[in-house]
Each structure stands twice: as C-alpha cells, then as structure tokens.
C-alpha cells in the first residue's frame, strides 16, 4: 500500500514536471511558469569569460499576471540583450520570499546590477545590505519598497495618483452638462486602485459630481459587465464610465452595447480606461472610447540610462524617478500613438 502511494506520488510529480517543461521549453519570449518551483531563473545569454559584458540580474513579477507585465518584461528583455552588451538573467515570482531567494542567488552569482520589481514593499533590508556588501548595485523599477534609500541607487516608478489626476483633469475639461459617473474600481487596496480612485473621489467631492455606482470589479471584465448591467437594469442615469483598467472598460462597454446605449466620442456615455493596451487604443482610434490613461511599462530606457551613468561614474540627480505618462484622447489619438504606446 505504501509502495502504491509512493508510486503515485512519483508519477504525479513526473507528470507535473513534464507539464512544466512543456511550457518552459517554448521559445516564446515571455512564457514561463509559476508552478511549484520557487522563482525560476533562466539565463537569457550565455555567460562570457571576457567580463566585458555587464551582468544584470532582473527580478520581476510573473509576466502572465497582466498585459502590463508582459509588455514590461518584453521591454526589459529587448533592452538588456547581448547585442547591447548585457548578460541578463531573469527571475519571476509573485511571492516576496521567492524573490528574495532569487536575489540572494544573483548576489552569489556576482551580478553587477540587481534590477528589482518587488512583490511586497517590506522585508528587503537584509538582502539589500548583502548586495551592498557584495558591491552589487540595486535599481528598483515599477514598485518602490520600504527600505533605506541608501541601499539602492535609483527607483523608477509610476505615480498612480498622477495618472488619476491627469485623467480626472481631462474629464473636467470635457465640460459635460452633468457628471453622473459609474466608477469601476480595481482590486481594493492595490496601488493603482488607490491612486486612480483617489483623484476621482476628491474632484467629485469638490465639484459636486454624482457617483452613480462605485464598485470593485477586481480588474475583471466580466464583473464590470455585471455591475454596469445592474446599473442599467435599475434604470440609473449615467453619462461617464470611469474604469480603472482597460479590461473593466471593455466589460462595461459590452453591457452598454447590450442595452443599446451609445458610447464614445460625441455619444451618450464617455468611456475612460487605463493601461493603454493596444486593443484599447484601437477602440479610442475608432472613437468607441473617449480616454485611456497610460501606466508606462517601459522603464528599461530609464534603467539603462542610469546604468550608463553609473558605469561612466556620473552622478544621478534625483533618486526617485517618476516616468512620463500620457493620457490619450480619442479625438486626438493617431495610429502612430497606438503603435508606439500600445502594450
């Protein structure tokens, strides 16, 4: 009986492993797995003896998490390639402890730079001190952490609150005769949700806008569709959909279509989204939506800039660098914008 149990365990492990190998072996740029094994590392380029190349260890969240992350990962891989003189290794995990393990491994491997998008803000002091002791320079991107700024060289982040403010500012500029808003929130408590909700809440209060419905759809298109559907079913009057990401805006639009409510430029309902997915910008181009706010995933050029400066021994001005982020208006967007900024 014990033997049978053991056998079954072995076989299932093997099946599982084969399954994982199946995905890992694929040559698609961003396909990795997030299964049982902790923070899988993969060498993007063979290590060279010469030492000419700059060795970089990149710790990121799982690229499957969202379109944003996929674009972010693609961008990093494109910049830190061999052709640009880098020897980059990647580790992906959505869990802090696995990320820390990966960081320790990179320090052992004596990388020159450690690029980090931390899963959690806390718990990084120890490993960053190790890095400092080992002479590894740390650059944070996308997410900041609760650690002494002396422990890292720079931090390149998006300002979610600013994204929200840009969008609300745009909405204010539309001079609608009335403001009756359906507000679709992201996962409650996430940085993006807080920043994007905060701006709207404040302005709505100041200017007396009506929030018809304020509900979390947890970044989920289906839930957004149900929430808007519910508002329509209850005969609520509204003329703005403020969705905190593109997926939710898409779900909301699906509900509008079902109810034959027109939306887009010069139509009954103003549709706003965030993240600048390519397909979302195309909706803007088709004038089905009105506004899309960018959350810039392309940090690699900023990072490369800093590494270049550090290599040359130049000083870096501000430690925290906030990226430029745009907001696109359907009436002014061009095909070029879609190609350049769509993720």
């Amino acid at each position: 009986m014990k033997l049978k149990k053991m056998l079954s365990m072995v076989v299932s492990t093997v099946i599982c492993a084969t399954l994982l190998a199946g995905c890992g072996g694929n040559n698609a740029p961003a396909s990795t797995t997030k299964a049982a094994e902790p923070a899988k590392t993969e060498a993007a380029a063979p290590a060279t003896e010469s030492g000419k190349k700059i060795k970089v260890g990149i710790i990121n969240n799982d690229p499957n998490e969202s379109g944003y992350r996929t674009a972010n990962d693609k961008d990093l891989k494109a910049t830190f390639c061999e052709a640009n003189g880098f020897d980059a290794s990647f580790a992906y995990s959505l869990k802090n402890d696995e990320q820390i393990t990966a960081a320790q491994k990179f320090i052992q491997d004596e990388v020159d730079y450690l690029l980090l998008s931390a899963a959690d803000t806390a718990g990084w002091d120890g490993v960053l001190k190790d890095a400092q002791a080992a002479g590894v320079k740390v650059i944070l991107f996308d997410r900041t952490i609760d650690a002494d700024p002396s422990l890292y060289e720079a931090s390149i982040v998006s300002d979610m609150a600013k994204e929200g403010e840009t969008a609300v500012e745009w909405l204010k500029g539309q001079n609608l005769p009335k403001y009756e808003i359906i507000h679709l929130q992201g996962v409650m408590g996430s940085a993006a949700q807080k920043g994007r909700s905060g701006a709207l809440d404040a302005t709505a209060k100041d200017l007396g806008w009506t929030i018809v419905t304020q509900q979390t759809a947890e970044w989920n298109a289906e839930k957004a569709q149900q929430i808007v559907q519910s508002a329509i079913d209850s005969n609520k009057s509204f003329n703005v959909i403020y969705a905190e990401n593109d997926d939710m805006a898409k779900g909301a639009v699906a509900a509008l279509d079902k109810a034959n409510i027109s939306h887009g430029v010069g139509k009954d309902v103003v549709v706003m989204g965030f993240d600048c997915n390519k397909w979302a910008l195309e909706e803007l181009l088709a004038k089905n939506w009105n506004y899309d706010g960018q959350c810039n995933p392309f940090q690699s050029s900023y990072i490369k800039d800093i590494i270049d400066k550090l290599e040359k021994g130049e000083a870096i001005g501000e430690k925290t660098i906030i990226m430029n982020e745009k907001g696109f208006d359907a009436s002014t967007i061009t095909q070029e914008d879609v190609d350049n900024y769509g993720i």
Binding site: V11, S12, A35, N64, E65, N220, D233, K250, D257
Partner: protein
Amino acid sequence: MSGKLDPKGGGSVFSRVLRNQIFIPFAALLLLALFNLIADPSFFAINLKMNSAGSYILSGNLISIIDNGSELAILAIGMTLVTASSKGQDISVGAAIAISGSVLLRVLCGNDTRPETIQAPIIVAFLVSAVAAMCFGAFNGVLVAYFRIQPMVATLILFTAGRSIAAWINNNELPIVPGEEFTYFGGYIPGCPLPTPFLIAILCFVLTWAMLKFTNIGLYSQSVGINEKTSRLNGLNPELIKLTTYIILGLCVAVTGLIKVSRLSTINYSVIAKDIEMDAILAVALGGNSLSGGKFNMAASILGAYVIQFLTTTLYKFDVQATALPAYKAVVVIVLVVMSAPVVREKISRLTKKIRSPKRTAENQA
C-alpha cells in the same frame, strides 16, 4: 409514489417538503426575492428593449441573473458529479476554463492576433477546445481515480499551472475574435429575446436530465462515492466511473469557456473565470449536497448556482460598499450553508414535527 408504504403518507406534506433537499436553495431564492420585493419592487421589472445590434431583447435584473448565472449552473452540473463519485472537488475549473478558452481563441484566430475573419468554423473550434478541456479533466481524473490522490491536491496542479498554460497556448497574446457570430454565444442571437447563455444552460440541463434518465451515471457515481468496495463487488469499475465524471466536468468547462470568451470576444488569462471554482463548489453545497460525496440532487445544485448569482446581482443593485461586499456575501453564504447542512435540516424537521405532533395525536383520536 412511496405513499402506499409510508404510513404517514400525505399527512406530513409539510415536513416532507422540509426534508427535501431542494427546499433550502428554493427557500433561499424566495427569501432573496422577498427581500428585493420589499426593498424595491422595480427589481423585478422586465423590459423589451432594442440592443445595439438592432434586435429586441429582454432586459432587467432577473434576465441578468439567468444570463450571468448560467456559466456557474453549467459548472455545477459537472462539479456535482465529481463530488458525488470522488468525494472531493475539482479546484482547477477556473484555470481549465482559461485553457479551454485559450484553445478556442487559438483555433478561431490562427496565428494572427487580430485576424480579419475567423480562421475556422466556430463549431470546429469549440470541439477542439472541448477535447482539450476533457483531456485536462481526464488528467485530473486519472490522478484521482488511479493514483488515488486527494481530489483537491490532484487538481491543485492544474489550479497552479493552468493559467500559465492558457497564456502559453496563445504566446501570451490577447487575440480578439472578429465577427458578429461569435458574440452570439455570450450575448443574443438576433431575433431571440432571451440571452444565449441561458439557452445554452437550458440545453445543458436537458442533456443532463437525459443523461441521468437514460444512463446509470447517477446510480453508479453515488454508489462509488458511498461505498467503493461494495460497488466493485457489484461489478462496477470505480476508477472508470470517477474518471468519467471528471471528463464530464471537462465538457462543462468547455461550454462555460465558450460563453465566457464569447461575452467579450477575447480572454484575459489571469482573471477569466477567477474564483469560479469556489462558487461552483458553493453551488453544490447550497444544494444541500454533501461535499464528502455520495448522494446528490442535481436540480438543487443548479438552483444553488442561480441563488449565488441572485445574491451577487442583489448586492450590486443595492450598491453595497466595495470593501464590504465580500463580508455581506460571506454572511449570507454562511447562513445558507449552515441551513442546508444535513444536521441542521434534520433538526428543523424534528422541530416542526414536535410542534405538529400534538395536533396529529388529536387528529388520530378523532
């Protein structure tokens, strides 16, 4: 039907209704309906409106409920069978929906993420995705039936890896299916005022009814779930039966995947059908079915699924604070699940019997 042998016969219609499994989800539905009726009768309004495609459709909260609850109801069918036969639940259905939806998109869109026209007939794409989903169901089934791994542990593998596999199938792209036809499955067929997901669900219910009526899957899966040794001695093959139920669940997953993907013509691997496995399990539990396997009542599970959707829609309708939403849902769910627990049901029926018994003795004496 058993009236002749049941000495109490018609005298205890009330307590028999109470003891019936379907009573709890039904009562929950009535309670929710009553609450809405008191709070705002317009909840039940149904209108005939024109949609953007130019055909007349019914709309209203009730229509939204049967529309959005359909996926869950279809999943509950498979989940009920799996629970009955393998004494455990498949927690990978959400991930499996992502996979099957991803396969569907891959076949429909080919290598192009933004094709002008669909690259394969929808029926072919659906069949391919159904085969894929059934294969993954079979994978779970083999682990559970032949390797005797606990269902939750066995399906944990796909639960963890499924969404990555789904992303991999489409090279992590998010293809969009072109054309109107594909949106019919998650929307409306022109000229038909009822939402298609509900029609699909009805079709599934009819097929399930036929399956339970014209095959022995019900008897066999219950028998295996209750006593595997006895089942084997009576000529059943318990492993095969468990495997079959997992494959049936796979088919349910494929149908659900079709509806989900069709609703938006695209997919988001990380959030599509998120947490739906928990709702499907909850539907089975709300139907008063034991989660440790054995006897089941399919109609009660299906009704349970719609109760969950009724609750969700009600909460949306009343604009419950976003942060408080899960708490409200949890409270209602706890009450419902406790009410539908066999122990509690027995207590209730005993209590009502006690209240009624003096009356009955009086009747007997008269």
